[in-house]
Symmetry: C2
Subunit: 166 residues, 2 copies
DNA sequence: TATGAAATGTTATAATATAACAAAATTAAC
DNA sequence: GTTAATTTTGTTATATTATAACATTTCATA
């Protein structure tokens, strides 16, 4: 099992997360000759500002205006960056929240699932090949040809259990 | 494993599906002293008109106008009925599609997953206790207290594989 | 540096969902 | 049974999420 739950749920040097994510993104985009433009990079950085999924308009709000003109970045621009980052596997969409989160393992060809804390919103990504193959098997047994999956688990992260969340 | 995939993906007497669903709904609501009003029943029937998840505004469009006044049912009314039906476990929300589908096994206290055909939209519901317990275990291993899950699998149903979908 | 392709800017609008309050219907209390 | 309280529905407006359409700019490269 692969997971970033330790980072997602506990205090840590988050700047390193961000820097590592940006570094990985640069390398991956370079390899694929995909253009990680300043706007795309800023959107990625904004998403990586926390381990909580961010809605598209939260990203819009958190983006700093253009240095030259002082104008705010508009929704379509952000959505286009999101689309790019999704295609490159650098972020994931959390459907149950209409929100986006950075992928800690981009490039890995894994099918992952998400552990979303309903109290603090922090979200970890896990992969478990055994579960994946069981889902594939179960689908197959009904004659269904599985192509992709979306697994979102809601509950309480370790920190919020301590905090006495109901 | 429990599933309605045979009904979801193959031609059958669908009126029986609908009638059975309405019957179960009535019994369950009766037991819980929940009021299955005419509007709520109509929304449920509209959702059960197919085995494909229906968007809220598709439901609005498919609802017949009020018999007395001839006026169309408005979105908030439909959303309130949806909310009620979700609470009673009579329908499910498919987050990846922003759409709603009838539950073939209401009352069962199961955690299910959905097999969504990307070609025809038909969607089956499956439960597999083994997968559930593995997810629970995996979450636990990271200290996460799992409370609910959302598993949506996309692919091709048996019929659409035959049809030569790419 | 001209040229085409890709990315971004800009405005408008589609699609999904809910807030707020009024009216009607139903249930409970007397 | 009639009244009061509660729940449901009607109605209007608006919030939120997402995309269409076209103009402009930037970038790669020929």
């Amino acid at each position: 099992m692969l997971t970033n739950s330790r980072l997602a749920y506990h205090t840590h040097d988050h700047k390193r997360c961000i820097n590592a994510a940006l570094q990985r993104a640069k390398v991956l985009c370079d390899e694929k000759h995909a253009r990680l433009t300043p706007i795309r990079e800023t959107v990625l950085k904004t998403i990586w500002a926390s381990h909580q999924p961010l809605g598209a308009y939260e990203i819009v709000d958190n983006m700093t205006p253009k240095a030259q003109t002082g104008k705010r970045i508009q929704a379509p621009t952000v959505y286009r960056a999101i689309e790019f980052l999704l295609e490159q596997g650098l972020i994931h969409r959390i459907a149950s929240l209409n929100a986006y989160i950075g992928c800690p393992f981009p490039g890995n060809n894994h099918k992952d699932f998400f552990l979303i804390c309903r109290a603090c919103g922090s979200t970890a990504e896990c992969s478990n090949e055994q579960i994946n193959s069981m889902m594939l098997q179960t689908a197959e047994r009904t004659g269904f040809k599985m192509e992709s999956q979306m697994v979102e688990i809601s509950g309480l992260c370790p920190e919020c259990q301590q905090g006495g969340q109901p």
